[in-house]
């Protein structure tokens, strides 16, 4: 498992692995938003939590089709399937690798970009926490979507369409935590629900992803 994880991480970080792609996209979104909505700092600080969450989600979406596609093309996915590791384990490791290479950098970059959007002071901690809690769910759900579309030639559009509605609850609660945190309100309820979604998806979705991947490799 650890070998697979380090392999995936190394592949992602090296050139052509698309490691910086999500991060760059996140940066572009956040930098471009003020040009679109105007530079009023009051407005920016009001929409900052939502923009940051949305940017992180879209950046995550961008790199999903890489989770299985390259391994499927060169056949290493078939090898992995015959390995002693159960499919559920492979899927979980893939999701973890995706989170470490895409989700985690986004989480770390978000506060820096928050400064650009004039995020209110108390919001930084909650933004960081909500993204740290929510992005694993995005990776796990995305892995399910990637597993569904792995055999398809041009699955990118379909993948986005499939994953889009699945992302809604996570986005709602995550952005709500960040927004309430920024406005200094109580965040307990959305925070608990966000944590619940993340735990639930991590616990259950790998089984669905593994079942789907088995079908696709049949």
């Amino acid at each position: 498992m650890i070998a697979l994880l380090t392999r995936d991480m190394r592949l992602a970080v090296r050139a052509g692995g698309g490691f910086g792609l999500g991060l760059a996209f996140f940066l572009i979104v956040v930098v471009l938003v003020p040009f679109g909505v105007g530079p009023q700092s009051a407005l920016l600080s009001k929409i900052a939590p939502g923009i940051l969450w949305l940017g992180a989600l879209l950046a995550c979406l961008l790199s999903l089709d890489r989770i299985f596609a390259l391994d499927h093309e060169d056949g290493s996915l078939d090898l992995l399937a015959t390995a002693p590791l159960p499919m559920e384990g492979i899927v979980s490791v893939k999701a973890l690798a995706h989170w470490l290479t895409t989700g985690l950098p986004l989480v770390l970059a978000a506060p820096v970009l928050g400064v650009l959007l004039n995020l209110p002071g108390p919001g930084f901690g909650w933004l960081l926490l909500s993204l740290a809690l929510g992005t694993p769910a995005l990776s796990v759900i995305g892995t399910f979507g990637a597993a569904l579309t792995v055999g398809l030639k041009r699955g990118g559009l379909l993948l986005s369409l499939l994953v889009l509605p699945l992302y809604v609850p996570t986005l709602i609660f995550g952005a709500e935590v960040a927004r309430r945190g920024a406005e200094g309100l109580d965040v307990t309820t959305p925070l608990a629900l966000l944590a619940g979604i993340t735990c639930g998806t991590i616990a259950l979705l790998p089984f669905a992803s593994a079942a789907v991947l088995r079908v696709n490799l049949r």
Binding site: L148, L166, F173, L193, V215
Partner: protein, 246 residues
């Protein structure tokens, strides 16, 4: 009829034979109920004292919304049957129901918008019910797209079944998440069986007739589409066999 007898209809031949006999009745009953209910609702009920004649859109809006959700439920059941017992008719029925359900969702959204414009002063509001229907629409869209995208029939059936199961959980989750996210503009349930205050009987009886008509319409459409799918698949198999022999 015991439960075992039910599984006999999973045999495509038996299914076609039975539906041959049942389908005309279902279709005619649906047509009669819809015609009767809609004429009754549109021409023989009074206008609402606040909403005027716009209230009559309820006769399309409510049944369509009802079937939009029930179609997904039916797909969930047939997907489970496919996963557990691998009856092809079941998978094909789920496939056949999806576009019907999507159109029902679209009707509910469109009639709601038409009613909302004069009543709420807006075509669309990010209200929990409206939003969850939009999400349901996206689920239908993704489900259908996945069926279309995959060439191998069995693979497609497996993948869409699992998508349907996972999607059901997330659709339910979204339904309550949007409640949390925004307060509603849409009125609450006005047709519950357990509440004191319901819609007035004058509107309620024709609505019941139309709802029954929509249910039968849905059944008829799904039966027709399932039969088409079965025959199309059989035809493809025959053609493939001929090509093998030639």
């Amino acid at each position: 009829m015991s439960l075992n007898a039910l599984w006999e209809y999973a045999n495509p031949k038996k299914f076609i034979e039975t539906t041959d006999r049942v389908l005309p009745f279902v279709a005619w009953a649906a047509a009669l109920l819809l015609a009767a209910g809609l004429v009754w609702g549109f021409f023989f009920t009074p206008d609402d004292y606040q909403q005027g004649s716009t209230v009559k859109i309820i006769y399309l809006h409510v049944p369509a919304a009802l079937m939009a959700i029930n179609a997904w439920l039916m797909m969930l059941v047939t997907s489970l049957v496919w996963i557990v017992r691998r009856h092809h008719v079941s998978a094909l029925a789920a496939r056949a129901a999806a576009p019907v359900g999507m159109v029902m969702t679209l009707i509910a959204l469109a009639t709601g918008a038409l009613w909302g414009q004069p009543m709420w002063g807006t075509w669309w509001a990010w209200d929990p019910r409206l939003t969850s229907f939009l999400i349901l629409f996206l689920f239908y869209l993704g489900y259908i797209a996945l069926w279309e995208a995959i060439e191998n029939d069995d693979t497609a059936a497996d993948l869409t079944s699992i998508l349907c199961l996972v999607g059901s959980v997330f659709a339910l989750l979204s339904r309550y998440a949007v409640n949390f996210w925004n307060q509603g503009l849409h009125q609450g349930a006005s047709l519950s069986l357990d509440k004191e205050e319901n819609v007035a009987d004058v509107f309620w009886y024709p609505l019941l007739v139309v709802m029954a008509g929509f249910v039968l319409l849905f059944v008829a459409l799904v039966l027709v589409r399932t039969r088409t799918e079965i025959r199309a698949r059989r035809m493809r198999a025959l053609l493939a066999r001929e090509r093998m022999q030639a």
